[in-house]
């Protein structure tokens, strides 16, 4: 819940509302991933992570 509040505050600050649907879809995807128990593989280039 706290995270969602912060996310909202972030969007209010940055005004990049077009990113909101992307983030929401990703969060749903994330929940699926958590339930599926898949592991996240971290590649080596640090610009991505």
């Amino acid at each position: 819940m706290e995270f969602l509040k912060e996310l909202f505050a972030f969007f209010m600050e940055r005004k990049k509302w077009w990113l909101l649907p992307v983030v929401l879809v990703l969060l749903v995807l994330g929940l699926l991933l958590v339930f599926a128990g898949q592991s996240a593989v971290a590649p080596f280039i640090y610009t991505l992570f």
Binding site: F3, E6, R14, L29, G30, V41, I45, Y46, T47, F49
Partner: protein
């Protein structure tokens, strides 16, 4: 105590070079990088050991801490990622699919993650304790300005990338700091340099030093270097007069790919394939290294000139990974653009932990600055874990080591000077560990710089690293001007490169510029051959009595014995290993290599007196080569 003093814990974690730092009312108490404890180079995990150490130094629990500061803004970084993928789509789909799970499962929830880790390590926090997230480049800028000796300064930070910014120009005045200008991703000086590091067969994020050390082997007068520079400017990069750059993303792959560059295009551009790390270094590799080093220096100088124009300041502070390019720093210092230049010794991301804490104190809590020390507010960067006699005795018992305790420190220094004069290599461990990537005389391997054999011996038999890599000198601060062209500047953190003065140089043979790497390496260039690089430069550390007295006394003893006020100083580790932290780490490293003697505190250990070391050479597999 906790009610009276404001302790702030700074953290950097989850990317590379995790670290923790503790300040009290703006004064630096302790700082350390996690790799020194876990023995895993560039350890990116949560810095549990470093946090434990920092809080332990002040006898604190998490509940005693007034605020915690993390060195960047995760949500802003996530925004950059999403926008970058969108801008490059459909390119980058594979990397998108790989990176998103990491973010969705962990990195987006970093605040919770940090609290969980912190409370696991140091108990519950006081309710309402703020967890702050200053921007990445603001953390770097704070780490550069607030510990500096200046009341007012221009602050330049240059690195790979933070959230969006890849370089920033700030103005620091008293306790305030204003960001004046930023360069944004994907246009990045740090990533440009890393791209060449990758193309020349070195590891991104750690091989940049090697590229800098390789560059002087290039032939500065050759047509090839000029041609490489021309192609870099024509195809890869546009440099504006203010030092901001634009990188042609047709040639790079770091924005959305899993490699730094598009190798086929680079091969066509430079007429050579990407060098494999095991391939022999050829002249063309050196020349390409020299070309990108020159381009980088040009950008650094232009950025500094812009900083001067915008702030009018006489002082400059530097931080960010590119500020570890001490060749560029040396040129900047000698350019005369600024009267004084100060560089954060932990200029890379580890230093962000300290910067975040300082930013929280000065910018969030409006705290005052502390009085300046002899040189600055960094306490010589000797703010890491201490070495106590108890630790040394435990090490002696564990390894049945044969040590001789010499209580009279002057006598110990005289003995070590005698050992070094005989051509031997000595491990030297004293007091608190250094903060930052350079060993400054408390976790160092030292030797006689006058020996023509020393560079090869240290590289091949002690450090197990490439023979082309140069070594740096520590010199008594009061004698530095007699040997190096420092123009009155101090270099206590080994972050400036200066030329060896003409009178100490040896004449070079004809055709030196076009000689092979190996031929150049074995040419005697000065009266201090072990620390004189191919182009007569040296990465100098000036040693000041009021900053590190024991190390100063050792150098004085060496001077008294030999007349030479300088010694070779390299970090106490082997290739791929983090710098040793404890006496046990030091003894292990000492016994695994051809080091001749080890000093820990007041104890001298000579190799010939030690019991046989049971380990075989397979220990080298313990460390991933950098």
């Amino acid at each position: 105590m906790a009610q009276q003093n404001n302790f702030i814990l700074g953290l950097s974690a989850y990317y590379h070079d995790a670290a923790a730092a503790l300040i009290c009312d703006g004064e630096i108490v302790a700082a350390a990088q996690e790799e020194r404890f876990t023995r895993k180079k560039h350890d990116p995990g949560f810095p549990a050991n470093a946090v434990r150490f920092c809080l332990g130094e002040a006898g604190l629990q998490l509940a005693d801490v007034a605020a915690i500061a993390f060195y960047d803004k995760p949500l802003l970084k996530f925004e950059r990622l999403l926008e970058t993928y969108y801008a490059f789509a459909p390119r980058g789909l594979r990397s998108f699919l790989m990176s998103m799970p990491v973010w969705i499962k962990e990195k987006l929830f970093q605040k919770r993650l940090l609290w969980d880790h912190l409370e696991e390590v140091a108990g519950p926090a006081r309710p309402g304790t703020p967890l702050l997230f200053p921007e990445h480049h603001l953390s770097h800028a704070a780490s550069a300005f607030y510990p500096s000796p200046f009341d007012e300064a221009a602050v330049l930070t240059i690195d790979g990338v933070g959230e969006w910014a890849t370089a920033s120009l700030c103005h620091g005045e008293g306790t305030g700091m204003r960001i004046l200008k930023e360069l944004k991703f994907p246009h990045s000086v740090g990533l440009l340099y890393s791209a060449f590091t990758y193309f020349l067969g070195f590891r991104v994020n750690s091989g940049e030093y090697k590229l800098m050390g390789l560059a002087p082997y290039g032939d500065p007068d050759s047509e090839q270097v000029a041609e490489f520079e021309r192609r870099i400017h024509e195809e890869l990069i546009d440099v504006a007069p203010d030092g901001s750059i634009w990188l042609n993303q047709d040639y790079f792959d770091y924005a959305t790919g899993l490699r730094m560059v598009r190798e086929d295009r680079w091969q066509r551009l430079f007429g050579m394939p990407r060098r494999d790390h095991a391939d022999e270094l050829e002249m063309r590799h050196c020349n390409l290294g020299l070309a990108i080093q020159r381009v980088t220096e040009d950008i650094m100088l232009k950025m500094a000139a812009e900083a001067k124009r915008l702030t009018g300041s006489r002082n400059l502070c530097l931080a960010g990974g590119v500020a570890l390019n001490c060749v560029g720093n040396g040129k900047l210092q000698r350019s005369g653009l600024f009267e004084r230049v100060w560089i954060q010794p932990a200029a890379g991301d580890a230093g962000g932990a300290l910067g975040a804490a300082l930013a929280a104190w000065h910018l969030h809590l409006a705290g005052a600055r502390t009085p300046c020390g002899p040189l600055d507010r960094m306490r010589g960067s000797l703010i890491g874990p201490d070495t106590t006699e108890k630790d040394t005795l435990r090490m002696i018992r564990r390894f049945s080591a044969e040590g001789e305790r010499i209580e009279d420190f002057d006598r110990l220094c005289a003995r070590v000077a005698e050992i070094m004069e005989s051509g031997a290599v000595v491990g030297w461990v004293q007091g608190r560990m250094e903060w930052g990537p350079r060993a400054l005389g408390n976790r160092s391997i030292i030797g006689d710089p006058r020996s023509p054999e020393m560079q090869r011996k240290m590289n091949v038999n002690i450090k197990y690293r490439e023979s082309f890599r140069p070594f740096a000198p520590s010199i008594l601060a009061e004698e530095a001007g007699e040997y190096f062209d420092l123009r009155g500047a101090d270099s206590p953190y080994m972050l400036l490169v200066a030329d060896v003065l003409e009178r100490h140089r040896k004449p070079l043979p004809d055709g030196y510029g076009s000689m092979s790497v190996r031929e150049k390496l074995y040419t005697l260039r000065s009266s201090l051959p072990a620390i004189t690089h191919i182009d007569f430069s040296a990465r100098v550390q000036t040693v000041h009595r009021d900053v590190n007295e024991r190390y100063w006394r050792l150098l004085s003893a060496f001077k008294e014995r030999t007349g030479c006020p300088a010694i070779v100083n390299t970090s106490f580790n082997v290739r791929g290993e983090p710098i040793v932290c404890t006496p046990e780490d030091a003894y292990r490293c000492f016994m695994r290599t051809d080091m001749d003697a080890l000093v820990v505190g007041d104890y001298l250990f000579e190799k010939r007196r030690q019991p046989p070391w049971p380990e075989d050479r397979r220990w080298k597999e313990e460390f991933v080569l950098d």
